[in-house]
């Protein structure tokens, strides 16, 4: 078993050469790709399903909107309990011993009570009844607020999520506040109010998107459009358009355990993809793996003309 000596790098042209017009090849390829692109675009177009608005959500499913708004108010929504980078309600996911999310910190703070309920209500002139309800809420202790939201949550559940069917009870100002928030949402003003919390110029849709995502309708529509995580998620596109199939090596992990069941699933997937990516980048330096192409004879097909000439020359 002898160790092979390093090989000198041969000049590729010692294998013989043939005329080659690089610029001509480039121009022909460019024309071909442009023509193919035009044909595909003309034949298949591109999808453009309109975004889901908060107004549409509130009008189509006022029960889900109210349930979500109540969850923002009592701190039980997904956003309220998310953790970094939005709040400190949870530690965030961890990768082995590393709490990377927590180390990165809370960089986009969201207080769901303030951001999704109180500020929108405060941002417009309200009738005296609503103004009084808001004042009552603000003046109440945390414990009292918790009692009101807890009672209303139970009653709303019994009413099948329909706020119009909730039995009378000791819910304090909560029903009136949420009804007014629903009015603002149905009128189409809530989106603008959420956006304007960031100032005059608006380009950050974090608040309206987080609010929408806390509800059920966005995910239900995604399920209909086969975009849910269990359906290989965001690599798909609406209808039957190709989406991002190159993300398949990423979304694949979400389809199997332990990734799809672990509370740290996202971090595990990214950790795995980090390892896969590093292996791919450093493949030339990894013994064994870098020799795989030698074992799989695809190269014989690619260079079949070269090997044929080699064989003919050897026979001569």
């Amino acid at each position: 078993m002898s160790r092979r000596r390093p090989h000198a790098e041969p000049d590729p042209y010692t294998f013989g050469s043939r005329p080659y017009d690089l610029v001509k090849e480039f121009v022909i390829a460019l024309v071909a790709v442009v023509v193919l692109t035009v044909v595909l675009a003309a034949a298949f177009s591109s999808p453009d399903v309109k975004p889901m608005t908060i107004a549409a959500w509130a009008n189509n499913d006022p029960g889900d909107f109210t349930t979500t708004a109540l969850a923002e108010l009592d701190g039980s929504s997904t956003t309220a309990g998310y953790g970094p980078p939005y709040n400190s309600a949870a530690a965030g996911q961890q990768l082995g011993p590393l709490h990377i999310a927590r180390m990165a910190g809370v960089t986009h703070p969201i207080d769901t009570v303030d951001a999704f309920v109180m500020k929108p209500l405060d941002s417009v002139p309200q009738n005296p009844e609503v103004t009084a309800a808001i004042s009552t809420w603000k003046a109440a202790s945390d414990e009292q607020q918790g009692t009101w939201t807890g009672s209303y949550s139970t009653a709303l559940g019994k009413a099948g999520g329909d706020p119009t069917k909730v039995a009378a009870g000791g819910y304090g100002p909560v029903p009136l506040m949420l009804a007014q928030l629903l009015n603002q949402a149905q009128a189409g003003s809530l989106e603008g109010q959420l956006m304007s919390e960031n100032g005059f110029y608006h380009s950050d849709y974090t608040l309206p998107l987080m609010f929408l995502a806390d509800g059920s309708d966005l995910a239900a529509e995604a399920q209909t459009q086969h975009l849910a995580g269990t359906q290989w998620g965001m690599m798909n596109e609406v209808n039957n358009f190709p989406g991002q199939p190159w993300l398949a090596p990423y979304t694949f992990w979400y389809q199997i355990s332990p990734y799809k069941t672990s509370g740290n699933g996202d971090a595990l997937v990214w950790g795995t993809m980090g390892v896969v990516g590093a292996v791919l980048v450093l493949l030339p330096f990894i013994p064994g793996l870098r020799s795989v192409p030698r074992v799989i004879p695809v190269y014989r097909l690619i260079w079949r003309d070269h090997y044929r000439r080699q064989k003919q020359a050897a026979e001569v």
Partner: protein
């Protein structure tokens, strides 16, 4: 006169003249040494480059230019143009399909280069830049989906954030911030891809196309030297690779 003759006959040793052109000249000489024009734009190529699979390199490059061209039109007209204009929608379709072609061509190109063990012979950096180009392009495409301003971008933004947040990236890269994603998509990431692709192409031109793997089994079974044609001279299992 005698002095002159003596001077001519026995000249004093002269110091080496300074290289012409200072730093600029030195840089020019370095560039031309590393990449002579005939190597940058060759009019011949090795005879073993004779398979349709080699076309996917230039197809990837031309598809990338098509992506940049159609994307530039969309950028000039503004983010909402394609939602309100038939022409804009068609340009968006061109952009979408050129991206699909670009990613397909690049993936086939990478897979083919894997089966050629194309990192042999000091071509490891060529391989590495190719893989990085694919990864950067996938990330660029993701930001493109995020700035579509439709249902798809809403859903992808709210889903992609969880993965990025889990590893701390979301603290600085907010998929739901349309303004931030727009800048990443039309400026930062295309610049990264363009630089990496340019480096990749220069490396390909400098190192040349990787020679074929040697058919050692055929040569040993016949008891003959490989052939009258030279062997690849490169290790089959790619032991010697250098970046």
């Amino acid at each position: 006169m005698t002095d002159l003759i003596e001077e001519t006959t026995h000249p004093e040793p002269m110091p080496d003249p300074e290289p012409a052109g200072g730093w600029t000249g030195a840089l020019r000489r370095r560039i031309f040494e590393a990449m002579p024009p005939e190597q940058l734009l060759p009019d011949t190529q090795p005879s073993y480059v004779a398979s349709w699979i080699y076309v996917f390199g230039v197809l990837s490059l031309t598809a990338f230019l098509t992506v940049v061209g159609t994307g530039t039109v969309l950028a000039v007209k503004g983010a909402t143009w394609w939602h309100v204009s038939g022409t804009g929608h068609f340009v968006n379709s061109l952009h979408l399909w050129s991206v699909e072609l670009f990613m397909t061509f690049m993936s086939v190109h990478l897979i083919a280069k894997f089966f050629m063990a194309a990192w042999r012979g000091k071509r490891a950096l060529t391989w590495i830049t190719g893989v990085i180009a694919l990864g950067a392009s996938a990330f660029t495409a993701l930001t493109g989906y995020l700035i579509q301003q439709n249902f798809d971008s809403q859903w992808i933004a709210t889903q992609a954030k969880d993965g990025l947040n889990s590893i701390g990236v979301g603290a600085y890269f907010n998929t739901m911030d349309f303004g931030q994603m727009l800048i990443w998509h039309v400026a930062l990431l295309p610049l990264v891809v363009a630089v990496v692709v340019a480096l990749h192409i220069l490396l390909v031109r400098r190192r040349g196309v990787v020679p074929p793997l040697a058919l050692r089994d055929a040569a040993s079974s016949s008891g003959l030297p490989a052939s009258g044609l030279p062997d690849s001279g490169l290790p089959d299992s790619a032991e010697e690779v250098e970046a």
